[in-house]
Subunit: 178 residues, 2 copies
Amino acid sequence: MVELAILGFLGERPLHGYELKRRVAHLTGHVRPIADGTLYPAIKRLEKAGWLSRRTEPGSRAAPRHVLSLTEAGRDELRRRLRDAGGVQISDENHWFTVLAFLRQLDDPAQQAAVLRRRRDFLREPSSFFYEGERPLAAEEFEDPFRQGILTIARATSRAEMRWLHATLKALDPQGPR
Amino acid sequence: MVELAILGFLGERPLHGYELKRRVAHLTGHVRPIADGTLYPAIKRLEKAGWLSRRTEPGSRAAPRHVLSLTEAGRDELRRRLRDAGGVQISDENHWFTVLAFLRQLDDPAQQAAVLRRRRDFLREPSSFFYEGERPLAAEEFEDPFRQGILTIARATSRAEMRWLHATLKALDPQGPR
DNA sequence: CCGCTATACCTCGCCTGCGAGGTATGGTCC
DNA sequence: GGACCATACCTCGCAGGCGAGGTATAGCGG
């Protein structure tokens, strides 16, 4: 997930590690700082794979900065990861948001739509949090206010996302598949 | 997170591993299967700590089952974890939902309210996904439909949760702190 | 009664991310 | 000009979770 975020942000413009850290932290919505021990090894991995290059600059008001930029191979990799997004990337909200944040860089609208459709199909699957044997329980059915909260919140999210997905899919391929 | 889920479900009733697996999978909302390699080692850890005990039963229509139940120490641990929920448990939606799912078992309403208040305070913190320098960008401000999606979905979720939090907090301690 | 399938449990190695530690440099304040 | 702080980068060990593999058992179809 961090790797995708790094590739994505660098796909927009070259950045040094520290600035990258700030942006990735904000990416999760409510600021959730990303640990140095996560960011820098990830940068190393990507660099080793030839997806980004660094150029050292004198620090503006501190230690020298390593300005990172995406190589051509890196841009290909970014597009590949966006196009092939699946599994956790589709089902986990944090991962999914990361994909969404950079999906614009996958410049073929048909491919963008395909990714959105995968998410839509995933959300469509009937789902519930709690069961009584086989039967799913609705929010109103149990007296536990906290579980009611879970269901109401999840429902609100799901609705908002579905509405947005439909509208965006329509805009992307007006007479596309399904 | 898995450990809390195990403690929580076993706090409701004794279960064997396989059934536990089913319930934990549903806990995330849209069925996200939990790997065996996650569940069973977690059970082992909890058992080793003395928080749950097992009793072997002949399998109903397959291999023998290990029915797990919470020990007294396990129940204490569950309550401790719920009461002290913080950090990732508050800030990450997946973790937070796990806490919520079992918060009822923390039987002191004042303590329940304290946990909810921590989440509320976290959600209150001003937050945004994308910045232009220092200034946060609103959904309407950029033309990227995917980032617009992120913001609109996040906003809908946040609103629904805030509404629920306020209502529930009021019900929990009508004249409580703040 | 043989093989298949579903149930049920377990282990191992890997990958990702975290936290705690460390280094270095430029600017500011006294 | 020395102390201090913010910036900037890095490493190490750890923990949680995953996936692929393996074992075993009960029931069912042919």
